[in-house]
Symmetry: C3
Subunit: 486 residues, 3 copies
């Protein structure tokens, strides 16, 4: 029995070896080759992108429409790569990992998402092939966003190999969950409060819970920011904030829905900024603001409008949602994150529970209520049908029923996030060559990156002094000189 | 009498207490709640954003048009949040305040601008409600730009509470001034040389004059930049520079006017860059360039084309305007800003007099001249009517009269800026809990922000050494060791 | 004879004097005035931008089309100014020069490009004037890209005056080369693998070869990066990466060609990221990644798709191209750049040989093969005609012939790059007041910029200590105090 325990311990608790020289190239090469093969077998251009288009381009509307998507697309693209990427540069010595691994998993994830979402949504029944166009690319970006949110909880604590695995499973789970919510339950969720934010956040938090590191405080000298890393993170915050109206409106109903989604998101975001500043100031001695709040909680209004943005929630309704979310989210950073870390053993580096989980769930609830209370007097008959897509099999749905389905959609997102996260978390704990850092080397780019030799921004002054002694006897002799003079 | 003087002194010259723990949250909460109530009472979706749209969408042109605005919008949005925000990160220890307070006042300002501009421009006479759509959002961004320009003069010297007040009054003044200039006087000013830049700059400069700080040189060790803060500021410069053609063309006449506005602005900006580099190099020993000039004066051409961009000023005309503005603006940084600070008691942190005031006035004058000299031979009859909107009540206006009205518009913008700035300046000097920093604490994020503990980029080496003595006896013992050896 | 040699030596090897106080302003002023005169003589608005447009706007399609270009344009604009600019900030002490001189030469280059390309492509035969519109502006950005690529090889080693000369000749050569390739040979190259990347890279590399600096290792302490300069460079990388699909599709055939170009580029870029990470990790001890590879080689897929992106290369074909390019490009940084520097005497600061030259040539070859193997079964008859523009004089061309012409185009681009670079290189070596830095002052902003006084990120600790001794006797006395105590 003691033997078994020792055996188990040695099985589970091998000393960490963050060497990824074999594993990372292997994963990248094998998976990229797999993508090429799968794309070769399954993926072709859709009608608008195929050279045969010129033969049947009769309807001009399609072109206009397509162009629209093309541009809308690049806004979302900026959010994924610059927005999420730079938001994660805030740590003093993990900026390379923040923006670099974000780049890696987004680039892999979008290929896998084109396939997974393609099988569910863009399969041509005639030839069994996936036909991709610009709209698929937007959807792939959305899919990737779920995994990047999950990365936020794990920032600095996992290896790129683990992140690739997290992405592979995350995209797969996302595609299934999205299919169930949007197609089977026929739920509206244009900006993904449920599908993207709730799923992504609980997926990441559950993995973080399973990969709990009891001795993480050994890395605490690296778990903060420095002055300029906080400014870098503001690049991410602002690009997310500015383009969030595009994010929530990109796949909303063309026409009025898209306009409404942009306006509502915009207003909710603006209200979040004011309440974030208010709570941040209120909570600190002398009213000093905390950059962590400004970088994150200001975005909470956009998350919470993900479902309801295309509904007739009305401008002041959007402001109220933003108002509440700014408060909740900042409060989360002040109280809930420390509580979760201490008592629930969930270490959440970027505070995604405050920025994505809570506002996402709230957004799902707001969406359900707004849907349930929709009426023909507000939407008009045709408007109601358009907005909730009460056509075909769903022609007989009432707003009240739709509200119920919206709530069911939220539960599905939660379930997929938690159960999926648990499974992936256990996989990532399997004693294998994951290459994750030991507890005292977390939040340190030194582990996975060749760092330039520079003294700047190395935080503990101890290291600095040893540098000086080691490298620079010159200074010491200067010092001696002064001493002798005195 | 002596008593009264003493009383006055104690009334006006209370020691500064930069504690904003009550005032900032109070202002944010109260004003955001006021916004929610006012939006609830007054604001609804416009036709294109309302769910009833599908019932009368007959004219396809509207949609295309709307989409156009939607995208154009996000360019302007980027200028407001990233452009202005990062342009103000150049100070070595006020980057948080630069980008952070810019974010706060823009988020508040755009809500208030939607209301103020809505009352003047988008009021539905049938029900007395404001109907907002994407175009309102662009206009709100323009309105906010005026206040952000004013912030440039005050950067580092005022509290966020004062900035909120400055924004509240600034937006109000802007909306009235804009109504008088564009609607009453029927002046053309698509890119806002007068309405935005001249007004905003004189508003800020007048406030700065009234809030003159005689002992500001006590903060001079923080009033410069460091290497990386200058690079951050270039992010702002470049995003402003790149999207300025969108700014000047966003609300120009759809069709040819918009194309022309983009081309003219683009050419003027390009010419400004060359003359800025030339004058900057010419003015320094060994021809060394100054980052302050490159960050700011390169944009002067865009400011000066704000009025005339949509006119037939011709490509070489735009180049000439940009050529002159690059010279004037750089010259302003070299000569006029120091002169104003020393003799006129106007402290202008970002040099908005050089980037916005002078080029803005010049832009107004160029616009008036270009309008006055417009002719049917150049514009065509229909083109002239379209460009200057000589329709309805204004059908009988001639280009010469229009030129006069353009000049009158410039005077209105100046008057609103100076008088409005004087009033707001006095309000901000009232002895009240403004929380502004004392003269020796200006340009310091320490006052309003929880700063990360880092040694990097703390400028005075004195502090550095005290750090070393305080925290790190290790190094000293190393030093001793060396000494003993010698 | 000995006299002649000495005379020659003193002629060619004058000590460097990097004073540009006369030369830079002179070049900027004279050339900008020349631009104004030439624009005055030759440049007018095109139909869509002229006020007469309203008289004949009958076809609505033009407007839509125009708007489309307008927006597409600003994506490319961002790549030129932020993308290329920030990519070149990676050096620890040449960030000002990287982003600043990029700004200068782009602003000059686009004016000159409007003229040069205008004479070749937009000349109105009726009046001999160039008619410019939004599309000319996109093309000017493309033209400028060639010169910015060339700057990458020379970064930190030339003066701004030399860069202006390089740009003047570069734009001229580009316009001629482009005319020969696109119009005379009727080659398709929408994203410019040949016209832009191959030409620009060999132009820069040849100049660098001629300006070889044998003692460049005297500046090697400044030839690396620091932590935050690498993060700045990632801003450039990501904006280039995200908008590359716009770059390759901007001037592709409207309709399906544009969609296809965006999708293909997107896929190739994604595949490049994975193989770059793989090779970078594989090549280093413990699998540590190198930021130089991530910043550059991840973009190689976009370069290599410049020609074939609008063809029916199929999604998996794009992935294969990206896969191969990520490998080749990273391998180039590891092996070829050091080899070229040591044995071929080509010093390539940014490694443009790996990012532009090799992928550009590969892109030309891929384009030629894809064109040669095009068939009606894949493209459809009309699609084939549209894609390769087999109309008018070229109606009888077959795909096979087209493939041959594509290959010929690649040779023309190579020839122009190498011969043009040789000529310009010799001009830039003429003993003249170029103001270029001496070998020990390369990669140093100190030479051309007024730098803020800050200790941060000055690399050699020696300087640091001298600072301490020079400026801060306080610390020394502290030190003494400790000594006396002991």
């Amino acid at each position: 029995m003691g033997n078994l325990a020792a055996c188990c311990r040695s099985f589970w608790c091998k000393p960490k070896n963050p060497d990824i020289r074999i594993s990372l190239p292997a994963v990248c090469f094998v998976w990229q080759i797999a993508m090429i093969i799968l794309f070769g077998l399954f993926v072709r251009y859709d009608d608008e992108s195929d050279a045969h288009w010129s033969e049947h381009k009769a309807i001009n509307y399609d072109t206009i429409n397509g162009l629209y998507n093309l541009f809308e697309h690049f806004d979302v693209h900026v959010m994924i790569f610059v927005g999420f990427g730079f938001l994660m540069t805030f740590l003093k010595r993990y900026s390379f990992g923040g923006v670099g691994f974000n780049f890696l998993i987004a680039a892999f994830g979008l290929q896998w998402a084109l396939l997974m979402q393609g099988w569910f949504h863009s399969l041509d029944p005639n030839d069994g092939l996936i036909k991709i166009g610009i709209e698929n690319i937007i959807n792939a970006d959305f899919c990737v966003a779920g995994c990047l949110i999950a990365y936020g909880a794990l920032l600095g604590k996992v290896s790129p190999v683990q992140l690739m695995v997290l992405t592979l499973f995350g995209i797969t789970l996302f595609a299934v969950e999205e299919y169930i919510i949007l197609n089977v339950l026929h739920v509206r969720d244009a900006g993904g409060s449920m599908v993207i934010h709730t799923f992504g956040a609980y997926y990441g938090l559950t993995i973080s819970w399973i990969l709990y590191r009891p001795k993480l405080d050994q890395s605490k000298n690296l778990s903060g920011s420095v002055y300029h890393s906080d400014v870098f993170a503001m690049i991410g915050t602002l690009f997310l904030w500015m383009y969030w109206p595009s994010f929530n409106s990109a796949i909303a109903d063309h026409g009025d829905g898209q306009h409404r989604a942009a306006i509502n998101t915009y207003l909710a975001l603006a209200a979040s900024v004011l309440t974030t500043f208010a709570i941040s100031s209120l909570s600190a001695k002398k009213g000093k603001l905390d950059m962590v709040h400004i970088q994150n909680a200001t975005l909470a209004g956009g998350v919470a409008m993900g479902t309801a943005a295309e509904f007739m929630i009305s401008p002041y309704g959007s402001l109220i949602v933003g108002f509440v979310c700014g408060i909740i989210s900042t409060f989360g950073y002040l109280v809930i994150t420390p509580f979760m870390e201490k008592y629930l053993k969930i270490q959440d580096t970027c505070g995604i529970h405050n920025l994505h989980a809570m506002p996402g769930v709230l957004g799902g609830v707001v969406g359900a209520i707004t849907a349930a209370t929709a009426s023909e007097s507000v939407y008009g008959h045709e408007g109601l049908v358009n907005t909730f897509d009460f056509e075909g099999n769903y022609a007989k749905r009432t707003p009240a029923t739709q509200g119920g389905f919206q709530a069911a959609g939220l539960c599905v997102a939660l379930a997929f996030g938690i159960v999926g996260g648990a499974i992936v978390g256990f996989i990532l704990r399997l004693p294998c060559c994951w290459g994750d850092p030991s507890d005292e080397n977390c939040f340190d780019d030194e582990v996975y990156w060749e760092l330039p030799e520079d003294e700047e921004s190395i935080p503990p002054i101890l290291e600095y002094s040893s540098h000086m002694v080691g490298k620079n006897t010159d200074m010491m002799s200067q010092s001696n000189f002064t001493v002798e003079q005195s």
